[in-house]
Symmetry: C2
Subunit: 242 residues, 2 copies
Amino acid sequence: MVRFFVDPEEMQPDFLVLTGENAQHAKVLRLKNGEQVLVCDGQGRECLCTVSDVSPGQISLVVNRRQDSASEAAVQVSVYMAYPKADKLEHVIQKATELGAWEIVAFPSARCVSRPDEKSLKKKLERWQKIAASAAQQSGRGRIPQVATVGSFREALDRGGKADKALLFYENEDQKTLKQALRGTYTTVSLLTGPEGGLEIAEVEQAVQAGFQVCTLGKRILRCETAPLCALSAVMYDAGEF
Amino acid sequence: MVRFFVDPEEMQPDFLVLTGENAQHAKVLRLKNGEQVLVCDGQGRECLCTVSDVSPGQISLVVNRRQDSASEAAVQVSVYMAYPKADKLEHVIQKATELGAWEIVAFPSARCVSRPDEKSLKKKLERWQKIAASAAQQSGRGRIPQVATVGSFREALDRGGKADKALLFYENEDQKTLKQALRGTYTTVSLLTGPEGGLEIAEVEQAVQAGFQVCTLGKRILRCETAPLCALSAVMYDAGEF
């Protein structure tokens, strides 16, 4: 079923109107009176609706049923990624959204080659959030994961360390597996990975102090954009999502 | 440690010589006498060597020890992917190699928009194999996964169906999870996924006849390039790789 995202305040109890980009999208899809669509508030609530009128730039809908989105993961996984080079963060945002991440948080670390300045950050965040919205729509999610940034590695640790399972993946760790780290129950998980050059040992020690467990993702060295998606897939699997 | 791949027949018991691209790579890395390197035959055997002479276009090595590669997965996972559009197959080859896939097999299916013709296939296969070799080197693998193609969906089923676990991922399956399908022991796994438009129901039925189990990858619809990597990550996790 086609899925539209609207702002939460646009979610009305009986009737809804799609405008702007949503109306354009509906036009491309040639939506007709009587067809059923899903309208989501991007925060996990959605309405099953029937198209009642198609006008240029405006689609009117009758709300049939309101429900919690059925496609959201029960486990809340936050992906903490050190700023990578080029457009790798965009790739990770898109894929992590598909895979069901709760949020994606970018942070600077010692060996980050690229880190956006204050000025460009606002524009970039807008762009990143759009990528998440588009991937959420395509993959049928009811919630758009937040894309956030924090100003320091320390902040990333403080924020991520609060999860039931706060995990850092380090290529020099060869003992503790993700499977061991996930033993027991959890509803929130933070997955933290480094930039191209890896995390510094001092950073890993700092993370341990902040409550992170240091784990391996296996005997092969994963690229910085592969590691978070591999870990996220495995956590979703472990949590019983598929 | 730096890692070079040579053809199996170049693996000599006591002395080795690196030439061509390997010698160029060694020059870029400024390898010096006395440094240790790993030389792999791309099939899982490797030699720990010491550099004994650096000449233009030729690096001489003394073999210290021969060993099986320690970075290969115990489970052999074959990734069967329907030809996707654009350069998505290249992306999957690179990432699946990092994640430890045994081989990547591309095949045509009913809804494939792109399928290379006989003429372009030879060149493409060469290119794909190079991508696998480069990813194997970067991720520290001792074996370069084979990239293969088969001419029909039927052939993909016959070839992939022989694995201990032959699994097809289908967006309309909502009962059988990957976790259920992986119960019991296995050493070989085939993971089959469709193109952008998905597999046809007749193809799914054909796969079941050929011994495939049909599974879900969760409540979200994954892009055709995300699904195989998500499944591969989960299988590696399930098999105890990390």
